[in-house]
Symmetry: C2
Subunit: 202 residues, 2 copies
C-alpha cells in the first residue's frame, strides 16, 4: 500500500467534486429506529449506524440480546472504534434452537438482566446511541414482555437514538418508532448450502 | 467510564454463557451480496459488514459511487478501523437531484472512473471484501452500463466478497448474486418532517 491516503489518490486521478457539504439539522432529535424482517442485514445495519455515530464523535452503547455464545467479527471490529463505546454481548444463544443447552427460564433470566442493563444505560444520560440488538426476537420468544419494551421505548430521553433489531418486530413497537425498515430475503447463500462466511455472515 | 471492560462487567453481574463457540466454515467462499430496496439501511448494512470483516482481520476496500460531495459520519468512523482499509468516496452527488450542479455527462465520466478503480482493486488481489456502494443506483441512472456491471461480478475472484448496494438492483445482477436483501420502508422519520439526523441518517 502506498503512503498516500485513498481519498487523495482519488482526487488526483478522478473527477472529484469541487466541494464537500456538511449537513446540519436545525433541530436535533433522538430517533427510535426498528430494523426487522427475515433477510440478511439487521444487526449488520445497526453496526453501520454505530460506525457512523462514532465518526460523528457520538457516544454509543450496544447491548446484544440472545447473542453472546458464538463469536462474531463485529466484536473485534467494535474494539477498534476508539470512541468510548460500550459493547455487551449478553446472551446465551438462540432459545429453542437445536443444540442450545439452556432452558427457557435461563434464557428469560438472562434477557431480563440485559433489559436491566439497558434501562441503566438509558438512564445514565451518557450515550447518544443505544443499540438493543435482537430485542424484537427476545420479545417474540417472550424472554421479555411487550409492556417492558413499550415502557423502555416510551421512556427514551428525547435526544437519545434508540435502535432495535431482530425479526418479527411487534406492531406496537413499530407504532412507537420513527423509522422502520423490513429487510426481506430475496435470496440467501445458505439455501445453496453455502456455509456462513466470516466477514459477511458473522 | 470505569476501567473495567464492559464484557467483564457483564460476566460478573449476569448470567453469561459458560463458553463462546467459534464457527469456521469447512469451505471458504467469496460471496456476492446485493442490498437493495427503498428503505433505510443499505449503505449502513454494508458498513456493518466492513466492521465485521475488519474484526476478522480481513482487508477491505470501499468505493462509494455518487457519494462524495456530502459528508457522512462513516467517513470518519472508517478512519478509526486500523486494518489497512481503503475508502474512496468518489461521487458528485445524486445525479438529477434538485440542486446538484453537475451534468449527466460529468456524473457518467465520474462513475466510469470509479468503475475503473473498482476493476483495479478487484484485480489487485489485495482485498477480501470489496464494497461498491450505490452501484445499483449508478446503473439505474445509466452512469454505468449493465454489461459493465455483469462483467465485473462475473470476473470476481472466487474468494473475494463483493457487496453491491443501492436501490433498484437490476434483475440480472440479482440473478448472479448469492445473497440478496430488499430493505423495505415501513416508516421513515422524514415523512414526519424530521430532518436527517447525524449518526443515524448520515
Amino acid at each position: 500500500m502506498t503512503e498516500e491516503k485513498p481519498q487523495e489518490t482519488w482526487r488526483k486521478r478522478g473527477s472529484a467534486p469541487e466541494r464537500i457539504d456538511h449537513y446540519q439539522p436545525k433541530e436535533r432529535r433522538g430517533l427510535t429506529v426498528v430494523i426487522t424482517g427475515h433477510g440478511k442485514g439487521k444487526t449488520t445495519s445497526a453496526m453501520g449506524m454505530v460506525l457512523r455515530a462514532c465518526g460523528h464523535g457520538m457516544k454509543v452503547c450496544i447491548i446484544q440480546f440472545m447473542k453472546g455464545d458464538l463469536y462474531s467479527g463485529e466484536w473485534d471490529g467494535l474494539k477498534m472504534l476508539d470512541c468510548g463505546l460500550e459493547h455487551y454481548a449478553t446472551g446465551k444463544g438462540f432459545c429453542g434452537l437445536q443444540g442450545n443447552p439452556y432452558s427457557k427460564n435461563e434464557h428469560r433470566a438472562n434477557a431480563q438482566d440485559a433489559l436491566d442493563l439497558a434501562r441503566e444505560k438509558m438512564a445514565s444520560g451518557r450515550f447518544d446511541l443505544l443499540v438493543l440488538d435482537e430485542l424484537n426476537n427476545a420479545l417474540k420468544l417472550r424472554l421479555v414482555d411487550l409492556e417492558q419494551v413499550l415502557e423502555l421505548v416510551k421512556g427514551k430521553p428525547s435526544l437519545l437514538h434508540l435502535v432495535l433489531t431482530g425479526r418479527d418486530a411487534h406492531p406496537e413497537v413499530i407504532e412507537l418508532a420513527d423509522t422502520v425498515s423490513e429487510v426481506r430475503e430475496i435470496k440467501h447463500a445458505y439455501r445453496k448450502n453455502i456455509e456462513p462466511q466470516p466477514g459477511i455472515d458473522y
